[in-house]
Structures are given as C-alpha cells and as structure tokens.
Amino acid sequence: MEIRESRVSASAAGLTRRGLLHRATALGIGAPLLSGLAGAKLAAAQEGGEPVELTIWLNGEPGTVNAVTEIIEEYERQNSNVDVTVTFVGNSLFNPSLLPALNAGEGPDVWMGGSGPGQPAAIIEAGHAQDLTPYYCGLGWNEVIPETIVNYTSSDGKLWAVGDSVETTLMFYNKEVFAENDLAVPATWAELMTACDTLQEAGFAMPIGLGGADKWPISHWQSMLWGRYAGPAGVDEVMFGDGRWDAEPFVEATAKLQELNDAGCFGPNALAELQDDVVARFWRGEVPMVYTGPWIIGPAVQDLGEAIAKFGVFQAPPPVDGTPIYPTEDIGTGWYINADYEHPDVAAELLDFMLFRPESRAQLLESGEDVPVGELDLEAVELPTLLEEVFAATSQYRENGTIHAFLDTVTPAAMTDVTYDGLQALLAGQMSPEEFNAAVQAAWEAAKAENEQLQRGGVACSAG
C-alpha cells in the first residue's frame, strides 16, 4: 500500500470531531459479534486474481487514519492482487479537492466523506456515487448499520454511503478539581450554574472550556440545547416537517446558551479561544469542564497514561427541571464508492473487510477515536476507562431517545454559515436569541425553497 499525505490545514481543527460514540443498543450488552455476516457475503471479487488498483481518499483524526491504514494493509496481505493507494487529505481541503477531481474523472475510487445534505447530495445527484444497496443487503450491512444512520446516507430507497461510525457529545470534567471544590456532578441546571460560580471563585477564569473562535464547538451546545428543549420529535418536525427553528422551545434553548455565557461560564474570551487549545488546557487541569466528544480521549490516553483516570464525563443536566436527558448522536462520516470505478465489488469487499469484520471493528474501536456502528463486543477490546464511562453515560439515557449532536452537519451549508456567525454574535451580545433563531429560520426557509435540506432516507432489503 502506498500512503500519500497532503497538507493538513490548521483549520482542520474546526472539523476535528471525528470521533466516537457508542451505538446505544449495544451498550453493556456485550453483544454477539458479526462473524455470521461473513457467510452472507456476495461474491465480492478478486476479479479472478487479476491485478486491481484502488485509490482511497481519507480524512479524519490520526488514530482513525492509522487504524484504517493498518486494516487496509492487512487486506492487501490477504488479497495480493489488490494494490491500494491511500491519500490523506486534510479536512478543510477535502471538499475543495474532491469536486474538481470527480469532475475531471480523476477522483478516488473510494472516499471517506461527509453525509450531510450539502456536497454529498450534489455528488450523488451528479451520478458520481455508486449505489451501494446491493452490498448493503447482500453483504449483511443492513444487520449492522442502524436505521437512524441509514436515514442519513440514503435517498430514493438507495444507499449511497456506508455510515461507519456514530458520534456523541457530553460534558468532560476534572474529578480532582471538582473534589477540591466540594462539587458533585451537577444533576440540575441550577447545580451546573453553581458549579460554574464556585469554579470561577476558585480562580478558574473559564469553568467550561469553549473554543468559540472555531465556531463549531458552540454549535455542539446549540445542538444539545435545541434538542433538549424540543425533544427528538420536535427537532424532526422541523427537519422533515413544517416545524420552525424560531418556535418557542428553540428560542428558549438559545436564551439558555446565552445565559450560560453571560454568567461567565465560558470565560471572558470564549470567541478568542480555539478548541484545540481549550482541550489541551482541560487535560492540563486549567479548565475544569469542556463539552465535547469522546474523540479527544484517544490522543489524551497516549499523553496522560494513568493520569487520565482523574477525568470523567456526565450528561449535561436538563436545562428545564424534570425534562428528560436525551443523549446526542450523529453519524460520523460515510464511505463512498466512485460510480465510475471499474471494480466496485472489490471496493465493496474492502469496505466490508474494513468496517464490518470483527477484528477491524475492534481495531477501530481501540483507536480511541472511532466507534463503529452496530453492536459491539466491549468484552473483546481493551478500552480506556474514560471511554467506558462515555458508553455508560450515553446508554443510561438512550431509552429516552436521541437528539442531534451536530445540527450543523445535517442542515444545509447556507444555514450552517448563518448559525456559526449567529452563535458568535449571540455570545458577543450582538444578537438576541429571537434574532438568532429568526435568522436561522430564514436561512432554513431559503434552503428549503431550493430543496437543499436533508431528506429522510431509508432502504428496504427484500427478503431472500
């Protein structure tokens, strides 16, 4: 395998949430593994042993990229006729590189890309993505990928991308700092605000770390709070129905975010902070809490070793007392096969090997940055305790239903643009919650008028 590396933009930091989340149905279950799937394979091909070349474009966090490349190397060892060239393209350069390449007929045979309603939809519409439905049904992927994920990677009854991982967000905190300040894990919003005050008094200028300069971390809060106030059904009503983002629950949620900021919980310079720096300071003990995803665990385990035990996670308490806690969940990335690739069976076989083989799934999980979709055998892998805590904190509330972790990735790009700027304006006090939600709604309506919003997908495999 040949690995090429392109320049990784610094702004990739803005997209570093490639991460993990446990598919809740699996949590703590120690579920049966997927070895049975092997028997369900189609004749995924070695094309009679003839030499096959396959190019892959990857992006993502180092742990995932390393795990994926190792798996591909193993695949090549087992399939000596297949020569895979992996090119790593930095996140912020991925989209600008992919479109011209596909247009010029020079695109990769397989790529790991987004699955939102923006560019992926355009790529699918232009006929560049292979219909993966036969593999989805024939290779047994339909038994692994949850319907919620398939909904985001399919349209017109066809699967266009393999959603390989799920992601979540929750509050990370420093147990030692909490103990030193006699703080318990906040169970109510009022307790969270008290913790915030106490920590400020204890000299922590930024009780809850927020890299507001990167914009997307603010959207994590927005996604969680909007979901908490409106509930999964309320969000779905807007996403796929006639609901509005400027309805009362969403405005109240926005006000809650502003309130948190006005109370100084995000510190005096949240808009000047970069999320990477904030996370680094969190691990150093300078920031007591940070609302983020478990993708930060993998690199920290390597740096901190045993010291990572002093950190824990908890679900943000209900912003309104007595309302349920909905864990956040969203699809990470999707794997696509180029429609023009002359060996789609080989590409599908590689994806099957990489994403659905038990050993590969364990390898991806152990990378600390990727939680494969479907049931997981947690007994068979060695996971950092903190990651196990994430699984526990998520599964505890899964019964309540899940909400979006990243609304910014499942809404049209034009709306995301307005959201990002609006969230910064909101924190800077330049915009009221009502103005913010009205601006988002206006962008949403404009995108809907152009039919740019996400459509509910779904794929049905016929029996037999």
């Binding site: 320049r7 600008p96 479109l99 596909l102 247009n103 300069a213 914009k215 510190g267 970069l274 910064q424």
Partner: protein, 313 residues
Amino acid sequence: MAVPYSQGIEGAATAARGRRRVRRYLLQRWLTAYLFILPVVLLYVVFVLRPTLQTFWLAFYEWNGISVDRDWVGLANFRRLIDDSIFWQALRHSLAWTAVTVSFNLVVGLVAAALLSSNIRGRLLFRLGFFLPVVQASIVTAMIWRWIYAPTGVLNTGLDAIGLGFLAQGWLGSFTLALPALALASSWMTFGLSVVILLAGMQGIDPTLYDAARVDGAGRRRMFLDITIPSLRNTITIVILLALIDAFKVFDLIWATTQGGPVRATEVLGTYLFKEGFQKNQYGYGSAIAVALSLIILASSILNVTLRERADA
C-alpha cells in the same frame, strides 16, 4: 550615370537576396525568441489564462460545482454581489487590510532597508531575520501568531509580566482588534521581501550623489529624502504593487486563525470567496466574487502605476 540593364537586374536581384537574408535572419531570431518563451507561454495559457477566463465565464452561471447542468444566469451573480452586504463588508476589510500591510511594507521596509544598507553590526543576521518569514509556510506563520494572540498566549503573558496586564485580552476574539492584529501578522510575514527589493534598489543608487550631497552639507535625513527616495521610485512602485496584490488575495493566514470571525470581523474577499464557492458549492457566485477581486487588483495596480507616472511627469 546610366547603369547597364544586366547590371541593374543583377543589382536588384542582389538587393532582393539581401532583403530575403535579412528577413530570414529576422524570422530566425523571431522564431528563436518565440521558441524560447513558448513553454512559459503554454504553461501560462494552460494554468493561468484558461482558468482565469473560465472563472470569468463561470460567473455567468449558477453551478454547484459538480452537476452536469449549469444554468446560465447572465449578470445575476453580479447583481447579487451589488446587493450583498457581506461582500461590501469583506471589501471594506480587504481595503483596510491593504492599507495597513502596504503602508507597513513600504514605511517599515524602507527604514529597515536603509538601516541594512548602512554598516551596522550583524547586518547579515538582520537580513536573514527579516526574510525568514517570507520563506516560511504561511500556515506555520498562522500557527505562530495564533499562539502569540491566544488569550493565554505570549502577548498577554508578556503584557502581564511587565505590569500591563490590563491591556491583555482575547485579541482574535475582539471585533475591533482582530483585523488589525492579523494585518500586522501578515505584514510581518511579507515585509522581508520588500526590504530585499528596496535594499537592492538602494545599492543601485550612484554613490557619487551622496558624496556630492555630503560636500554640500546635506545630513542623512536630507539625503534619504532627496536622494534615496526619489531614486527608488520604480522600486517603490514594484514594492507597492507586490504588497497590494498580496494584500488583496490574502486567505490562508485568516483562514487558519479566525476563518473570517468573530462573526464577520475578519472576513475579507478571499475568505468570503472560499466560503461561497467551496463551502456552499455556489461556484457561479464564488466566481463573480473572484472576478470582482481580480478587477479590484487590476484597477489598483493601474492606479498605482498611473499616479507614479503622473508624478514623474
């Protein structure tokens, strides 16, 4: 004197042969010259001219960058540009950015070049120091300045250390300071080239002019203003042109630090173009912004040269 007929014919034939030889010689020279520049012209046509023309052409379409269908919309993208408040905001920021960086390049560049042209100690070290940011990858520069301007970064820590902690703030999160702070960083990144060009210009000035001025009792300031600056007119024009173009097309430094934020406080034409074109997949509108940017650079360059020529006249 009459020339015999045969001799006349012969003379005419000789002259014609001579003319042919001259023509052939000129043609050969012409061909040789064009053959030499042909590779460059071809590269220019393929990699500069064609994409530029294509961008102009795309500005008349609505296209998501990948679809087979492109909708001809005529001047609609340019009309949208005129009504787009963010475009005008980005343009204002680009102009402010240009004013800061061009001034810095020129003023600080001239002073630095003047100092380096004198016999100060460690001249080579200073030259190297000034030029180092020019050869450094812009992404590295961006990282350095991110680190400097971070709320817990070098600048604020330094201010704290010297008792000016009250001035410490989140520089890149400030709506008023983020743009000048980054413009300063960009100037630091580019002014080394200006220093080198100006220094080369200074070394080309006839030293007898200074000798004569010295005899006439002129001081260093007078010599700098009346000899150095006027002698550097052409060089200064080049420095301004280069800084101007560099300033208008700035993208990477801003993208790697603020991505145009907070809100739109550091949005310039380059970042706005990228967002509209590549993030929102509005290639037609992105191209219209690119066309506007190109025309602005062209107009400013022409204005700069024209003003300089008028001043000469």
